[in-house]
Symmetry: C2
Subunit: 139 residues, 2 copies
């Protein structure tokens, strides 16, 4: 059956999960993609725009618009890299950290609700399997 194909299942799993996460994020003024950017910026050492884009596997031109939006909301700030003025380092603001913290709870709850039909062991195996199939990127 065509709707049991892996491509279809990935697409619609993502769509259904997004239907759970997006309303939860909305009170915090961000969407799922912006959550991803905030989250990837939550590192000990600040990242450049390009580094952040590579980790999320999105184009650097896409990252420009995302950082523009988040900066406009006061959730991140750009500052020039001290040693290489071609680079913009992007950092969470205090408000950005608070938003990320609250949004992370929303995401955790949405994932839990989404996985609720599965036994806990299977849910964990699903996570692990997906994680092996989509390795982290961008060093």
């Amino acid at each position: 059956m065509s709707t049991r194909r892996l491509v279809h299942l990935f697409k619609h799993a993502g769509l259904r999960l997004s239907e759970l996460t997006e309303p939860g994020l909305e009170p915090y003024g961000i969407d799922g993609r912006e959550f991803g950017v905030l989250s990837v910026l939550n590192t000990p050492e600040p990242l450049s725009q390009l580094e952040a884009a590579q980790r999320l596997r999105i184009d650097r031109t896409t990252m420009v618009a995302m950082v523009d939006a988040l900066e406009g909301k006061g959730l991140v700030g750009r500052r020039p890299h001290p040693g290489d003025r071609r680079k913009n380092m992007v950092e969470l603001t205090e408000r950005g950290r608070e938003t990320l913290s609250a949004a992370t709870r929303v995401m955790d709850e949405a994932e839990e609700a989404f996985l609720a039909p599965l036994p806990a062991d299977d849910a964990q195996l699903l996570r692990d399997a997906l994680s092996r199939l989509v390795p982290p990127s961008g060093g």
Copy 2:
């Protein structure tokens, strides 16, 4: 880590799998979405456009364009429903069936390659888990 979130994993699992399937389908003149339509039409009893759309969880206006394209390629045919002239029944042509058959092999191989990093048991469990999380739709 943000790139371990389920939404991110679903999105990029789909993207990576598509990178495997699309080049394989290309010689047959269809893409992954068109494969989905051909595949959903491969039923004992023909489906209307709306029924096909519901099973694939796409809008009926989207289905119009998909059927237009597939009809233009000679892979499906429209004919009026005998008892309800509002409906278009959509059926695979002989060439459509042949294309679907070849494309199905491509999809099987791509899925196998994609899942190769996982032990067979885990791959099967991933399929089953996803299938429970994204139940079939549209009766």
